[in-house]
Amino acid sequence: MSTTSQTQNLTLVQAVRDGLYTEMSADEDVIVMGEDVGKNGGVFRATEGLWEEFGDDRVIDTPLAESGIVGTAVGMAAYGLKPVPEMQFSGFMYPAFDQIVSHVARLRNRSRGRFTCPMVIRAPYGGGIRAPEHHSESKEAFYAHEAGLKVVIPSTPHDTKGLLISAIRDPDPVIFLEPKLIYRAFRGDVPEAEYTVPIGEAVTRREGSDVSVFTYGAMSRPTMEAAEELAEEGVDCEVIDLRTISPLDRDAIISSFKKTGRAVVVNEAPKTGSIAAEITAIVQEEALLYQEAPVKRVSGFDVPYPLYALEDYYLPNAARIKEGIMETVEF
């Protein structure tokens, strides 16, 4: 990772915008397309000012059609552009799902490398913002299940810019899910210059010896909060922010688990069939003899995401995470 002394203090959504701006300035094949991404600068302002800077041909307001956006991006990518389509909310990605799983993910394999699909599909995802129905889901497992895709979920402004630049430069398609709950929740130092954060590498947010807590996205904050509170109670948590959920950083997961022998996975996705289940399987396969307690999943529930009067019961918070960690530590 390269850094310079010039830094800005940005929110996560500003870091998205900064990452797009940086790569669009460096590579004229990079184009942004989607609903309201042009003059309006995106409904969350993730593309603010890009249309003014790069013009109509590179910051494109499209018709309102998600399959059309992603499907035409497939053709653009095959022709030599590097499209970065925005899905306005991940809950509205499903019209594009056929294009994503049938073509985006498979074009390289199907054509034996003759045609490739270097694109980044960005989408705000996750709950906690008191939004209407279909605006709060956390369905990253759909995409992690599909071979040919990479799935990235940043949790800090610094990682957001570095991972987005890596994703745009990646020769394979990347689903880039942005935790909108923390789009503006805090600021962080972000280098002005270009830099990359590698896809597929987790980061240790807090070193500890008693229990490994694996998390990503917006759940990183309450997980850190829980870890700090538990530290005062004498429980030393190691917190691993996965940052990429496909491919998973298996080495980071296994080595942390071998150190602590206990694991908790925190995510806001429905419990069944989620990334938490995959992490559980990895530690079973690779480190069974180190295991001191069952792996605990602190997650959303297997229900449709509730309307917001109930979402605080649905989303894991520090209290639930602490409870899950203690259950594991005291087993």
């Binding site: 059609a65 497939v74 990518a77 073509h103 045609f115």
Partner: protein, 370 residues
Amino acid sequence: MSVLERDPGDLVQVLDEDGTVVGDEPDLDDATILDIYRDMVLARHFDQRAVSLQRQGRMGTYPPLSGQEGAQIASAHALDEQDWMFPSYREHGAAVVRGLPLKQTLLYWMGHEEGNAVAEDANIFPVAVPIATQLLHATGAAWGASIKGDTDKAFMCYFGDGATSEGDFHEALNFAGVFDTPNVFFCNNNQWAISVPRERQTASRTLAQKAEAYGFEGVQVDGMDPLAVYAVTRKAIEKAKSEEPPAAGRRPTLIEAVQYRFGAHTTADDPTVYRDDEEVQRWKAKDPIPRLENYCRNHGLLDDESVAAVRSEVETRVADAIDAAESEPRPLPGEMFESVYNELPEHLAAQAAEIESLREIYGDEVFFEH
């Protein structure tokens, strides 16, 4: 008036069912007319052999094209060298015209991934099985060319009548109209989407008229009349590359090529269940091959001897392609893994190693015991 400016319900025809000229002939040299004839005969013979291979258990499920040679072959011949083609899964004839060896088409339907490995110098997209999804790729590539300032290429996309009911058809044509993309959307309306007739897909009088809703021209052509298909397609390709201002110039076109598939949707269905023989015979009278053959004989381009020579040439080509495809060794399991990503990720390397270690212990034959 351009042939593209006709009423969408006004079927363009050059040859009648006997091969007599009844419309404006396209500007075609004799050699190209004979190439179209030969490639139609090649496609028909290939198709018959492919169905036979499937019946003998030498090939998997296969979608036949017989009856559709006129539309496929003549439209592909209308393309220029640098143009792109986005097929569905039935365009084996158009693909061979554009440089995809028959061996590869055979390999694909024999279950080899390598069948879709299009050569670097051939701008043919791999087969798209999910209906209508490839229209968006064609629109996007054409749009990409416009963004990059490349104005010398047309982007041809093939699809069937059933595809016009899909959302991706609407989205692809809508984007194409909004962004003035250099596309030719070529609908092979063969009257049947497996067992569902054209009338059950839409209450529109024609499929061609749907272009009107997207703000560009749609034209209906006799898809079993190769000269008419060539004439209409050529005009659409020229329009896609026209240097005139966008409003009248570089714009998409929808072509509805009215035709019939003589056989099944794929070798997995029996068309006698859903359509009657009288209908099939009525359409067989429009067969594009004898039609163009009669035209060529009437114009002194073909005689018994040269027809026999074409026949013999295509039989040899198809036989050689079948030999080559069947001589291809069974692919190695490593091929499943190698093209999924640009670089093999660790977890895929581990899975590839797992199957290799099983092969080392047990050999290959154990995998084929079911």
